[in-house]
């Protein structure tokens, strides 16, 4: 029998109960739209966290001294890079590199009259384009000058919680390269808001030279931080900069933990996706089964006229395929619309963002188009819907023509 005619009968079957067909299609569409939107958003959150981490903490590539300890800061000379400017210059000469500059990390304690807070101090090359985003995020006062001997840039939230403002002087204590505690007063030149709450609450910036003199490190730096045009070039650049006595890291190494927790989170979301897809599948199976029950007689007639079991099976499957395909198409459209909306209008996560563990999530997070993920979801929704229709199709194919005809 010509396949097209099977399609035609299947299609006619659908137009019979338009409302039911429509709502089933809608169930598929809404299910998929929900999945696409959610996954687009989650993907946005993850990517945002990763981007923030790269932008604010790790860069795309880092060069450190071979001895620099893992997971904590050290300002001992043996742990630092001796001539960081040379490495930065070498990196800057590479076409893949957008910006490169030395950085010095210190642990410090800030004390006001009432309280003390542990902070991280980043000594930065304030003229490097590496810090353009920071420059742009200044919300009060001014950005730092390279020659400033006492200025610091503080997160707006931290300042607020400590009741400080631009122009205030605060004492900072750190352990210097010789292992001695040292204290010095600093003036708050400006306040920044990076959009990442954890960051805004615990990081203080000062010019590299001042950080070096504060901790007695000479010209040394903790690392040379490198930003690339494309993060895919990280391995290449890392390899090019490798030399004895140094170790290089890519953003993958540096964000291993984040990437890992992203994977873990994704398995959870896959479970959620599976549940939604299953619900859609049950709805399809149910509708088709109802449609088959309703047409027991009609199927009996087709069987009496000589339609074979496989043909009846295919006919019902075609019906399912049409519903599923229409649902998937509409679902993709609605889902992309949802994602688009969330790329324009982010959710303000506020306090929730600070509790997201190690993921430095922005205050406002936007969805992201993840074509691979969306295709995957659409294909699975379609396949599972077809799979779910196997039972009704099998049921229809198994009907005896006689019994089917007796139903009047």
């Amino acid at each position: 029998m010509t396949r097209t005619k099977l399609w035609m009968i299947a299609y006619r079957g659908l137009t019979r109960n338009r409302r039911r067909t429509f709502f089933t299609m809608l169930a598929v569409a809404l299910g998929l739209a929900l999945l696409i939107t959610l996954n687009g958003y989650i993907s946005g959150v993850m990517e945002d966290g990763l981007q923030n981490s790269i932008r604010l903490q790790t860069g795309h590539v880092q060069v450190r001294a071979a001895g620099y300890p893992d997971g904590k800061h050290s300002v001992q000379w043996k742990d630092l890079i001796e001539r960081p400017e040379e490495i930065a210059a070498q990196a800057m000469a590479m076409p893949e590199v957008r910006a490169a500059a030395p950085i010095l990390w210190l642990d410090a304690v800030l004390s006001t009259g009432e309280e003390s807070v542990g902070l991280q101090v980043y000594g930065i090359d304030v003229n490097s384009p590496l810090h353009d985003p920071l420059r742009a995020s200044v919300i009060a006062g001014a950005f730092l000058e390279a020659t400033d001997r006492s200025g610091v840039l503080m997160g707006g939230r931290l300042a607020q919680s400590l009741n400080l403002k631009v122009g205030d002087t605060v004492p900072l204590v750190t352990i210097n390269a010789n292992g001695e505690p040292v204290e010095a007063p600093f003036v708050i030149r400006g306040l920044f808001s990076s959009g990442v709450l954890v960051y805004d609450e615990s990081v203080l910036f000062m010019p590299l030279a001042r950080a070096q003199s504060f901790a007695l490190t000479g010209n040394r730096a903790s690392a040379v931080m490198i930003e690339l045009h494309r993060r895919e070039d990280a391995d290449k650049v890392a390899v090019a900069l490798a030399q004895p006595g140094l170790q290089t890291f890519t953003w993958r190494d540096l964000n291993a933990f984040i990437l890992q927790s992203m994977d873990a989170a994704f398995s959870f979301y896959i479970l959620m996706d599976a549940i939604v897809i299953m619900i859609v599948a049950v709805i399809i199976a149910n509708t088709l089964l109802m449609a088959v029950f309703e047409r027991v007689r009609e199927i009996g007639i087709l069987a009496a006229l000589g339609m074979k079991r496989l043909e009846i099976l295919l006919m019902v499957l075609y019906e399912a395929a049409i519903i599923a395909l229409a649902g998937v198409v509409v679902g993709i459209a609605l889902g992309l619309l949802g994602v688009f909306f969330l790329t324009q209008n982010g959710f303000v996560l506020g306090e929730m963002a600070t509790t997201a563990g190690n993921l430095p999530i922005s205050n406002v997070v936007y969805a992201r188009f993840a074509p691979d993920l969306f295709t995957w979801l659409a294909v699975w929704t379609f396949l599972i819907a077809l799979l779910a229709s196997l039972y009704p199709a099998w049921f229809a194919a198994r009907l005896e023509p006689v019994r089917a005809l007796h139903t009047e």
Partner: protein, 245 residues
């Protein structure tokens, strides 16, 4: 040579503990081009017999030969193949596909049989013309009268030029005029095409058209009035009630 041969057909339905003996040793032959009625009281097994002849159902015991081929042990797909090629059905409730229009309903058996598009169209239109429905080809079943629906069913049964058309109470849901018209059309098509017609019926109007009447009682053949040659008919008149050999 007969087109259908039935040897000692038995069929018992079981619903739970209850057994109904629907056919109890039926042996019958049907010749090409016959126009016969199977009559008998309700529950006597007429429908069951037609279903077994039409390969819609299988007997518990006995042999069914269709066109000299034993069909008793064929599987579901092989029986479907036979139904699509050599048997036409007409049912009491017309049994049209409600979502297809008259044209599509008549075309369906040709599609199932894999007839090419051009021939399909010609034969479909020809059959619709033969049953007088050329002006109704795009009407859905629910837009047709009962008589018109049954005529679509007749066209559908005949369009594939089957060996035999099996009709179960084809006039039961038609008024007298429509019933007569349906019978006349079938008689004419029987004469024109040579397709055999076998009816199961209570309807005296159908019996009146039939050239042979088979009486079923309790799943057995009680009387079998074959199309008799004149002298045999005279003999049977002179000896009423004498059972046939």
């Amino acid at each position: 040579m007969p087109i259908i041969e039935l040897f000692d057909i038995h069929k018992t339905y079981r619903i739970g503990e209850v057994e109904t003996r629907a056919l109890d040793g039926v042996s019958l032959n049907f010749e090409p081009g016959e126009f016969s009625a199977i009559v008998g009281p309700s529950g006597s097994g007429k429908t069951t017999l037609l279903q077994i002849m039409g390969c819609l159902d299988r007997p518990d015991r006995g042999i069914v030969k269709l066109d000299d081929r034993d069909v008793t042990r064929l599987n579901a797909d092989q029986r479907a193949e036979l139904r699509r090629n050599v048997i036409g059905f007409i049912f009491q409730f017309f049994a049209l596909i409600p979502v297809l229009d008259a044209y599509e309903n008549v075309e369906l058996p040709l599609l199932l049989a894999g007839v090419g598009a051009r021939e399909r169209r010609e034969r479909t239109l020809e059959m619709l013309e033969a049953v007088g429905l050329s002006d109704r080809i795009h009407h859905r079943p629910n837009q047709l009268s009962g008589g018109q629906q049954q005529r679509v069913a007749i066209a559908r049964a005949l369009v594939k030029r089957p060996l035999v058309v099996l009709a179960d109470e084809p006039t039961a849901n038609l008024d007298t005029a429509n019933g007569e018209q349906a019978m006349e059309i079938m008689q004419r098509l029987n004469e024109q095409t040579g397709t055999a017609f076998i009816f199961a019926t209570h309807d005296p109007r159908v019996m009146k058209f039939a050239r042979r009447t088979i009486h079923l009682v309790d799943g057995r053949v009680a009387e079998n009035h074959a199309p008799v040659p004149v002298e045999a008919a005279v003999r049977s008149l002179s000896h009423p009630g004498e059972p046939r050999a």
